[in-house]
Amino acid sequence: MNTRFYSLFCLVFSIVLLSQNTMAQLKIERKIIIENEQYYFFTIDEETQLATLHTGSVKDKIINARKFQMPIGRELNNEFNPLCFDINNGQFIGINWILNSMNSRYEALKIITLKDWLKPHPEWTNEDWAQVSFNQPTFAPNEPWERMLDENNVLENCYFDMVKTEVPSMAICNKGKLYYWEYRNDKWINLWSVFTNVNSFSLVKRCNTSGFYFIGGNGDIMIYSEKDSMLLALGNVFHPKEQLRKNILAADLANGCLLIIDKDYNKTYTIASQTIVAEQFNSLNKIINESALKINL
């Protein structure tokens, strides 16, 4: 009896340890996107630089997410720039920023149909995956990167992000100058550029109106003012009820936050990264209801 109890205890203890280990390893890149009641987010392997897609129903526990290796990734060197991506009608659109002597930064803007990559390829090595990633179709040349280098080829606090709404949009900053581009009619158009002290940021489409805003790594929300030709920091963008929750969660948010882009209901939330890690035994819907902050923009 005692032996059986001890064995059961060891088994449960091992499972708990394993679960905690799995949870601790979950470092989500930048944002979670919801489309057609499915969520999509990515993690990056800290050696191979390759991305893993995590996906599932918003009603299911995060811990039960299906995981798929993807031919995409980002570098681990230099300043920390999380994976740049969007999910649009089942397609990944983003920047393959794997550091490799065969990966072209000029050809790094990739478009991938997700369902094409749901079949595992156990016969492929990590090196094969990297090569496959470089050969993925390029939807446009990376002109925003090249033109930024034309102005200044010394990188310092260089960050970028991309989203796809009506058209692909890209923002890139280097040495305090932020450039905003849209890809229209097979051509990149630089709509504006501005000097700012923004560092890391994510580009987010506004829910209530057209245009975009920038959410900095520290949670600051900024918007480009055409009238003033400058980036303006916005004050309170949360509902009073949310503001109270924000105050409670301030410490957690300061340790890193993620975006949740709900394309089904045209809503955007921010949430503390560690909340997702800690709440993996809950569904994303439940997590949003209990712990996310809706951004009213």
Partner: protein
């Protein structure tokens, strides 16, 4: 392991309260620890974790220690002492290299099972490491001596051997993939020993790369593309796997400079073909590093400016080489890279260092005074992708130039 047992005969009737007689003592060090302000927390190459706090044990442990020049070493040590009748206390001192000595300390003997133990307490060395000079002690020996009469008479006891690195200034803080790795300290301090200036240190550290044989602190080869398809691109992965891409050798060279506390911003250069030229409808995006052999021109009509065409399917870069279906350009034994006479040579980009206007290519151990020198000296061809699963090449190097993107490692 150096297990130094000294037998000595002494007359110690004073403290034994007996007639003069001969005694045989066995006195040996069991552990030495270094500490002190500014001691460098050296990291294992294999794990990036810090070494343990003990630096020497008689069980064989040998761990390196390092300080910035001008710092004063502190040390503590444990000893074992066997003797039928021992005094209550003894005095211990140590003599190190360059008259960096450990002062006399009188310590109590603690009785144990058949032996006595004592602890040489944490003590500052008699003088600091010479200021402003890189040093490398391999070994730094401490000759321990003991006295039974409070320092009037000294007897040789044990000797402990250590590896000690002294950097010119405090190393730059660890950030990202720059850590205070054992091999970084070893290569930097060994090569730059005696140097007092930044330019002297850079020059001497560079000499590690010029023979294309870069070894880690154990003497193991660090290979530039031991396998053609390696995807290791960070310094920690080079040191752990000993096989990596160009990024890592540039990072290693920059790290040898940073570990000396030398701050040289804009030292890391990413080079890739400029995208201004679009032969036959696409941008030049590849280059071939020497040596490649060029045969027939399959596309002399379709794309006369890039007439050589290679085709492939899937993952055409294997561990042992390139697997093309058809090949007008074939890889030959090339320019030596670190520990490899035929490294990978088909690239989109390459990484080098830049110090004081000079480009240092640590992978191949060569320097360039101008960016434009690289293509003429090291390249055989430019490449362009005109269709999926194929590349076209030209040996006319005037068709493109390199673009540099500069960051700070």
């Amino acid at each position: 392991m150096k297990y130094f047992t000294i037998l000595f005969i002494c007359v110690c009737s004073t403290f034994l309260g007996a007639d003069a007689q001969d005694f045989v003592y066995n006195f040996q060090a069991t552990e030495v620890k270094f500490l002190g302000v500014g001691i460098i927390a050296i990291k294992h190459d294999s794990s990036a974790l810090a070494y343990s706090t003990a630096h020497w044990r008689n069980t064989g442990l040998r761990e390196p220690a390092g300080w910035a020049s001008g710092s004063t070493m502190n040390a503590t040590a444990n000893f074992e002492f066997t003797c039928a009748k021992a005094p209550d206390s003894i005095s211990i001192r140590g003599f190190g290299n360059d008259t960096i000595n450990l002062p006399m300390r009188t310590v109590k003997l603690n009785a144990g099972a058949g032996k006595f133990t004592c602890v040489y307490p944490v003590s500052a060395a008699s003088k600091a490491f010479a200021a402003g000079v890189v040093n490398y002690y391999a070994p730094f020996n401490i000759f321990w001596e003991i006295s039974f009469d409070k320092g009037l008479t000294w007897y040789k006891a044990d000797t402990t051997d250590h590896k000690i690195y002294v950097t010119k200034s405090a190393p730059m803080a660890e950030t990202g993939n720059f850590k205070h790795f054992h091999t970084v300290l070893e290569l930097s301090c060994k090569n730059a020993k005696g140097q007092t200036t930044d330019t002297g240190i850079i020059s001497k550290c560079w000499s590690e790369f010029t023979d294309q044989v870069v070894l880690n602190h154990k003497g193991d080869s660090l290979f530039y593309y031991k396998t053609f398809n390696t995807s290791n691109t960070t310094l920690p992965l080079l040191l752990r796997n000993k096989n990596a891409q160009c990024y890592t050798f540039a990072q290693l060279f920059a790290a040898l400079i940073k570990i000396q506390g030398i701050n040289k911003p804009n030292n890391y250069v990413f080079i890739t073909p400029q995208t201004k030229t679009s032969p036959c409808g696409n941008n030049i995006n590849r280059f071939l590093v020497k040596n490649w052999k060029f045969g027939i021109k399959s596309d002399s009509v379709a794309c006369p400016s890039f007439p050589y065409r290679n085709t492939y399917s899937g993952s055409y870069i294997t561990a042992t080489g390139y697997v093309f279906i058809t090949a007008d350009a074939t890889d030959q034994t090339g320019i030596n890279g670190s520990c490899n006479n035929n490294p990978s040579s088909f690239f989109n980009n390459h990484q080098i260092c830049k110090f004081d206007g000079v480009y240092y290519d640590a992978c191949y151990g060569v320097k360039f005074n101008a960016l434009s020198d690289i293509k003429t000296t090291a390249f055989d061809a430019w490449g362009v992708q005109l269709a999926p699963n194929s590349y076209n090449f030209t040996t006319d190097m005037s068709q493109a130039d390199l673009r540099e993107t500069i960051t700070t490692y």
